[in-house]
Amino acid sequence: MSKKLLLTYDHIPGINTLEVYRQNNGYKSLEKALKTMKSDDIVEEVKKSGLRGRGGAGFPTGMKWSFLAKPEGVPRHLVCNADESEPGTFKDRYLMERIPHLLIEGMIVSSYALGANTSYIYVRGEYFYIIKILQNAIKEAYAAGLLGKNILGSGYDLDLYVQPGGGAYICGEETALLESLEGKRGNPRLKPPFPAVAGLWGRPTVVNNVETIAAVVPIVNFGGEEYAKIGIGKSTGTKLISASGHINKPGVYEIELGVPVEEFIYSDEYCGGIRNGKKLKAVVAGGSSVPILPTELILKTAKGEPRLMSYESLSDGGFATGTMLGSGGFIAMDEDTSIVKNLFTFARFYHHESCGQCSPCREGTGWMEKILKKFIDGKATMSDIDLLWDVQSKIEGKTICPLGEAAAWPVAAAIRHFRHEFEEYVKNPQSIHDVKHYFRLNNLVEA
């Protein structure tokens, strides 16, 4: 097995079409599944593979599938979460744009495994051009007998539809997504009941991320045990990493889990080092929600061991000295970056995206943005640092969904690791204007 499992063929011209996709081993897993495997066999292979949800939470996929309730006579559904909105994350977009049939193949195989006959791909509305790509690919699949009635003569029926969102980060939370798919505001539901018992229209439902569903294809093709041999420890398989920020080669990289962070940043195979010969200052390793780490802690753990791109290694040390793999949204910042200003963009984001249902999140995200704005405007005092800490500490664990945590964690981590920078902006408010952020653009003379 090669190190690349999802993006093996992504650079082949025409791979977005059914014809070229099939010439490159496309829909092999579907044939294998429908002709040689029972539904439960596939669930078993996914369990053996150790695959963990690639949307950010990292929950074991096989276990999630095994929770699905199967009451007699009640339809079940598989819903793909393509609401990719976590700042720093663009891997699902890449996968759907380049190889739409990989997702569709994964959807059919997974739906078969779960006994679903109607499945949906919920795509964030801003990705409307992706929706069109997926709809074209689905049309091709129907025409080839890969969707619809009696797929490949197996007796299995599946209808697959694409649903657009309306622009709301919160709909990446699975119960908010289901609300949205039901034509409502994206307010997360209280759990339990979990979607596995009462999901879409109250029916048993599994919600999985795009990359998770795509990974089912190689798992069925090669077997769960073979898949589990790739990666390191409980971080099995490969992961798509969206790399951005001040690096030489931003883009989507498929890595075998366990690659050293240092290699990922500096090797030419991946990010190719920091732009303009600058030094690395900090990294947000798994999307905006995860704690930011300064260079010394992202390259090495507190124990001095090399930090690896894996669930376990990135979280080594807890939040005191570690972070999370999250969605794999890897944002690297060079020595000139203002951590406070970047944090402000995150705080503004979470304030904008809070659904408003729970007071700690609705009010807290607004306060965090407001206080951070004071730092940006050079109007903050030393006590504002403590106030900011206080506000974030009162959100975590007090909301229906994890958006509260997602908003609080980056604030806490920035103060934990870069308190001196907040203090500097208080002592010397002018210094915020000295920070040079822009490299590609010529500085614009103020109009």
Binding site: S85, P87, E126, Y438
Partner: protein, 173 residues
């Protein structure tokens, strides 16, 4: 300004409505609300007036408030008239690091309108938005269903010139 009696989907849009409704069980047609709002926004000048939302409610046989509360929740639905081309500039983290603030300033100067205002010629309107999943190709903006990435001032000049020539309202659907 259109009046309630004139609000009706075109024939091709009516057909799309049927296709959309076929995606859900017959008693779950409310699920069609977001797709229909996108379609309505594209059909009726890029925004959702109260009569347009009432029209969508009547198609789905739901109360108008069920449409208003949804339309006002999601950021892609415009509840006021917008410029012919809505320029949605991403401003989060990686885009900010790569100069999104300069992009906004340059755009404001070029179209002669501040963010949120329609340009004097009615052609453009800037809207700052949150992460659009284009972090590796920052800075960027979205117009309709098109992503314009790795932006420079020169690129922006060309894009706006081309759109002025095209002169057709941007749409997602």
């Amino acid at each position: 300004m259109t009046t309630t009696t004139e609000i009706k989907f075109s024939d091709s849009a009516q057909q799309q409505v049927q296709e959309i409704l076929n995606q859900y069980p017959a008693d779950k047609s409310k699920s069609a609300l977001l797709p229909l709002l996108h379609l309505a926004q594209a059909e009726f000048d890029g925004w959702l007036s109260a009569p347009v939302m009432d029209y969508v409610a009547s198609i789905l046989n739901i109360q108008p408030i069920e449409v208003y509360e949804v339309a006002s929740f999601y950021s892609m639905f415009n509840l006021k008239p917008v410029g012919k081309y809505l320029i949605e500039v991403c401003q989060t983290s990686s885009c900010w690091m790569n100069g999104s603030e300069d992009i906004v300033r340059y755009l404001e100067r070029t179209i002669q309108a501040e963010t949120g205002q329609i340009s004097p010629d009615g052609m453009f309107q800037i809207k700052t938005v949150e992460c659009l999943g284009s972090c590796g190709t920052a800075p960027m903006f979205q117009i309709g269903d098109k992503f314009y990435e790795n932006l420079t001032f020169e690129k922006i000049d060309t894009i706006l010139d081309d759109l002025r020539k095209e002169n057709k309202r941007s749409r997602y659907v």
